[in-house]
């Protein structure tokens, strides 16, 4: 847009001239458009409020503090039917985040593996990976979720005839039942020790890199001691924790397997469906990323005597990340948003619990849907912000 020449406009003799100034015109129309949009937004909000009031429909966010009165099958945070609608919202949110995070991790690992397999010199491996990608990404996700849930997990045996898994676990139509490690005490101490060990290991690695750049060879004595410590201390801590903890095994009760750690089949179906589906897309992104690295880089790596594995890890992958990360972010966002299909298979995610059950019990559709949209927007923007930061870190200045 040209900067409007307002000086010319201030004198009466040039009014006409100003009206023909493209800059002035553009400015006037933009202001008018902005006003129109603001007016529209105001009208929508005030109209909604007035109509709700006219129809005697309860409105406002006070309902979040009322007692929910219903139960939820998977509650990662403490919740009972005596909790509030606000707590039910948090349970739904937590369930959505759990599915999204686990789904993203599995989809990434699986996607990278299949993407690399797509480029394998082994004909069979490459074609298998190709078939997987073409099959999975061309079928609707909802259909795949229903297949996993109804056609696979629903056909598992009843609790009495559960499949026994090695290590004391069971798999039946009610889900996956695993032994649970219950720490008697000192759980937080263990977490602190493990975190410290991780931080120490990261610091040592960084020091080693600095030394290597500086041309120093071999670790100093302090570094050697450090290395032993970051491995030995957490190992001892884990051993002590294991010794002091008790394992509870799932046992078949009157109806279900009691005790142990149970994973609902709805959750399994959703995680499997989402991650296998997204992995197919990630595989294509990874393949494209690898192929986007100039051929010369590969040849140079081979000329330096790097093995195929080394070349992949040290030369190709770091350079391809620049290409991979932006579309990968999109896939992460898609996976998170697709997790709302949970409602089709009864997994208690945010949409199912909050904009399903809570909406229906309170009848406050406008507020509930607004909150739900705001949450998905916030999750997506946060994921995108993190991935952008990661992208900036991995890309380096062009030469």
């Amino acid at each position: 847009m040209r900067t409007p020449d307002f000086k010319r406009w201030s004198t009466a003799s040039t009014w006409k001239e100003a009206a023909y100034d493209p800059g002035v015109r553009a400015a006037v129309f933009q202001v008018l458009l902005a006003l129109a949009i603001a007016f529209l937004a105001y009208e929508i909000v005030s109209n909604t409020i007035e109509n709700l009031r006219k129809q005697n429909i309860a409105s406002g966010f006070g309902f979040l503090a009322e007692t929910a009165g219903f139960d939820i099958s998977q509650t990662p945070i403490p919740y009972s039917s005596k909790s509030t609608y606000g707590a039910a919202f948090l349970v739904g949110l937590a369930n959505t985040l759990i599915v999204a995070v686990i789904g993203i991790v599995i989809a990434t690992v699986l996607g990278f593996a299949i993407g690399i397999a797509r480029l394998s010199p082994n004909w069979l491996v490459a074609k298998l990976a190709l078939s997987y990608v073409e099959l999975v990404r061309n079928l609707p996700l909802l259909l795949q979720l229903l297949v996993w849930y109804v056609a696979v997990l629903r056909t598992l045996p009843a609790p009495e005839e559960a499949l026994a898994l090695p290590g004391g676990g069971f798999l039946d139509v009610r889900g996956l039942h695993l032994p649970r490690l219950a720490l008697e005490s000192g759980g937080s101490l263990l977490v602190v020790v493990l975190a410290l060990a991780l931080a120490g290991a990261w610091w040592l690695k960084r020091q080693a890199a600095i030394d290597r750049e500086a041309g120093r060879r071999g670790p100093t004595r302090a570094q050697r001691v450090g290395r032993v410590l970051v491995i030995a201390v957490p190992a001892v801590a884990l051993a002590v924790a294991f010794a002091a903890s008790s394992v509870t095994y799932p046992v078949l009760g009157r109806f279900n397997h009691e005790g142990g750690f149970s994973i609902e089949p709805e959750f399994l179906a959703l995680v499997i469906g989402l991650s296998t589906y997204t992995a197919a897309f990630i595989a294509e992104i990874v393949r494209a990323g690898f192929q986007g690295v100039p051929r010369g880089q590969r040849e140079a790596a081979a000329a330096l005597g790097l093995s195929r594995r080394q070349a992949l890890r040290l030369v190709i992958l770091p350079q391809s990340l620049r290409i991979i990360i932006p579309p990968l972010t999109n896939q992460y966002l898609n996976l998170t948003k697709n997790s709302s299909l949970a409602v089709a298979i009864g997994y208690p995610d945010l949409v199912s619990v909050f904009s399903g059950t809570v909406l229906n019990q309170t009848g406050q559709a406008v507020e509930v849907i607004l909150i739900t949209m705001a949450v998905y927007l916030a999750i997506s923007l946060a994921t995108a912000a993190f991935m952008n930061w990661f992208n900036m870190r991995t890309s380096w200045a062009e030469r």
Binding site: Y42, E43, S46, N47, E50, N51, L52, K54, Q55, N56, I57, A58, G69, F70, D71, I72, S73, S80, S81, K82, V150, R154, T155, A158, V173, R174, G253, R254, F255, N256, E258, P265, V343, G346, P348, S352, G356, T357, L359, N360, Q361, T362, G363, A365
Partner: protein, 386 residues
Amino acid sequence: MSIRGKIGTDISPCGEGSGVGGSPTADGLGSPPPNLPHKGGGMVARMLGACFTAAFMLALIGSDAVFAQASPTLDTVRKRGLLNCGVNTGLAGFAAPDARGRWVGIDADFCRAVAAAVFGDGDKVRFVPLNAKERFTALQSGEVDLLSRNTTWTMSRDTSLGLNFAGVLFYDGQAFMVRDSQQLTSVEELAGASICVQTGTTNELNLADYFETRGLTYKPVVFERLIEVLAAYQSNRCDAFTTDSSQLVAERTRLADPDNHKILPDLISKEPLGPLVRQGDAVWSNIVRWTLFLLINAEELGITQDNVGEMRTSSNPEIRRIFGEGSTFGRALGLKDDWAVSVIGTVGNYGETFERNLGQGSPLKIERGRNALWTKGGLMYAPPIR
């Protein structure tokens, strides 16, 4: 500053009959609720229309017609020529399409009864199948004029949704279906069991209350649609399936092996099911409520679908009154005086509707029980038509 502010307040005397006037969207299917202020292009037309209507009605006061006050819903329904009636997506005995695609069930028949009252023709109904989650929004937004969808009358629904219940069409209670092989005799033995329930229902809440008050645990398995709940129960995803007892009877017939399942005798809640209308349209509310009362009164007085013609000339003054012989009750509702003839002629009395859809004339064979007339030990009691 909004234009609406002016219309909403200053010119409100002319805005009373909103749905009647020149609103360009007031007719046709899926129109917005007629008692909402329409904004935008049709505003001037609407104002004019409303004013004309008001003037027209003022003129009528002088004449002998005793019109009830304006009813936006009744006017919209009349103009459309069809009653949009929200029903279940498929629940045998209440509302489900039969082999030829005709909606059958006591809820569907109630829709026909109201259509007969308004139009004198029970077929002028468009059935709108709604799941538990959609039902209230559909009525609030005006997508349906009447919600006749086995909905439990509760205080919160009656007070905070902007909706009103018109009465009770069926007294129900929440029950549990279990497998015979479990050898259960009461609900309390279900401690620790996985229980399938439909989301957004009073059943979900009663279930939580029941186990909470007894200090028992259970695992809820929740689905949005009844058919999903049934499929989950069938595939052994849960040990029990809970919903209103009449629904359980109907759903049991859809199982592959109905004989291997039984319904536990305990009822854990009161579920008075009834039709709903939007709050704020008293005339429409009266029509729906008195159509229901008419069905019950007709059974009490022995008026049936077959004898409705003869009964019209009955010597019993109570019956003559119902049929508008020497009375103007129909007009007071905003309908024709012979509205009762159309209603009973279309669906029969309450007892006939019940037996045809849920009772001995249906595969469900549900006993009248507490849905019998008050004179026969049941709870069905309607205020007199006089």
